[in-house]
């Protein structure tokens, strides 16, 4: 009989108080789900979906104001920074210098010194340029930023980002916007096992089962955008994601049974009639 480890090993029993809150850079979040604010059909739908997701932290992007007003106004007209903790991102940046510039603009635009650091290295896959990410992380940490670094599912780079002082390390489940789910659960588990800072899986979740499987790996949280925004019913999907993240976390804490490539009866084999 072969035992196939398909999820994280049971961790120490949770304290009597249950699952502690997610804590990043000294700030506690009850929800382990972080959501993006892009790609929604309307701003009203975005706000309703975020509320349904239960997320307390939401990502935003920094872009030029449209001086001709052909586009919607800034997102702060719709999102109350008193209701949601805003996490500016550096999405769309392809160099460390650009990411640092966007991070500084985000800090000036917002109410905190947090940043979701993202440096893209390849246009086709949107996979991160991890060396540029590390370079930018070092600069931003020096400038006092709380850096949550988007990165590949690469253990060594995750350790380097932690060593650089990142407040959280955020390996991808699969490419941004792909909805492929966790393509390498072993690497995600290993990153979680080896790092001390929170590990947030960022990008690639497609539906609720993906979120649940991701949380079952033992990671501290998930960041997602497209899976909710591009669903037929974003508010319904946001609700599903809220439940899936909680279910996956609860299953991880409960400690799953070993999976075996053999059947084991659930009912007693003794006491059958005619024996």
């Amino acid at each position: 009989m072969t035992e196939v480890p398909t999820s994280a090993p049971r961790r120490a029993a949770p304290s009597a108080g249950g699952d502690p809150a997610l804590e990043i850079a000294g700030r506690a979040f009850e929800s382990r789900l972080i959501v993006g604010t892009g790609k929604y059909r309307t701003n009203a739908e975005m706000v309703d979906a975020i509320r349904a997701s239960g997320a307390e932290m939401v990502t935003v992007a920094v872009r030029r104001v449209d001086l001709d007003r052909s586009q919607e106004e800034g997102i702060l007209h719709h999102l109350d920074p008193g209701e949601f903790f805003l996490l500016p991102n550096t999405a769309g940046c392809y160099s460390a210098a650009d990411a640092v510039r966007y991070a500084r603009l985000g800090r000036a635009a917002g109410l905190n010194d947090w940043v979701k650091l993202e440096v893209i290295g390849d246009e086709a896959t949107l996979l991160p340029d991890t060396s540029a990410t590390l370079e930018a992380a070092r600069t931003l940490v020096d400038e006092g930023f709380k850096v949550l670094a988007y990165t590949n599912d690469d253990l060594v780079m995750a350790m380097r980002l932690e060593d650089a002082g990142c407040a959280a390390v955020m390996p991808l489940a699969s490419p941004i916007g792909s909805g492929l789910g966790v393509v390498n659960p072993f690497y995600i588990r290993e990153i979680k096992r080896r790092l001390s800072v929170p590990v947030i899986v960022d990008a690639g979740v497609g539906t609720a089962s993906d979120a649940c499987v991701t949380m079952e790996q033992g990671v501290d949280g998930i960041l997602m955008n497209t899976a909710i925004a591009a669903a037929d019913d974003p508010i319904g999907m946001a609700t599903a994601m809220r439940l899936a993240v909680r279910a996956g976390r609860a299953a991880y804490l409960a400690g799953r049974m070993p999976s075996r490539e053999i059947a084991v009866p659930s009912s007693p084999v003794s006491g059958m009639l005619g024996q």
Partner: protein, 80 residues
């Protein structure tokens, strides 16, 4: 600008600057806050980057826009 301290509104004619990558003529002598007002933007919602330097909110009323300045006006939009 200091030659025309009292004529910020009337101005000696428009000056050319680059705003968000596009050439634009604005009244001479504007402060950064005056530029936002001229463009109908709320200073609390927009960050001004002047020649690659971020203008702090407290400084919007004192920093002046000079001919040829490259200005970026950014804000938060939806993103993941």
């Amino acid at each position: 600008m200091s030659e025309f301290p009292m004529t910020a509104v009337e101005g000696p004619g428009p000056v050319g600057v680059v705003v968000n990558g596009l050439d634009r003529e604005v009244p001479a002598g504007l402060t950064a806050a005056g530029l936002l007002d001229h463009l109908g933007l709320h200073p609390g919602m927009v960050v001004v980057e002047l020649n690659r330097e971020i203008v702090r909110r407290d400084d919007l009323g004192s920093v002046r826009v000079e001919p040829g300045d490259r200005i970026e006006l950014v804000h938060f939009v939806g993103g993941g």
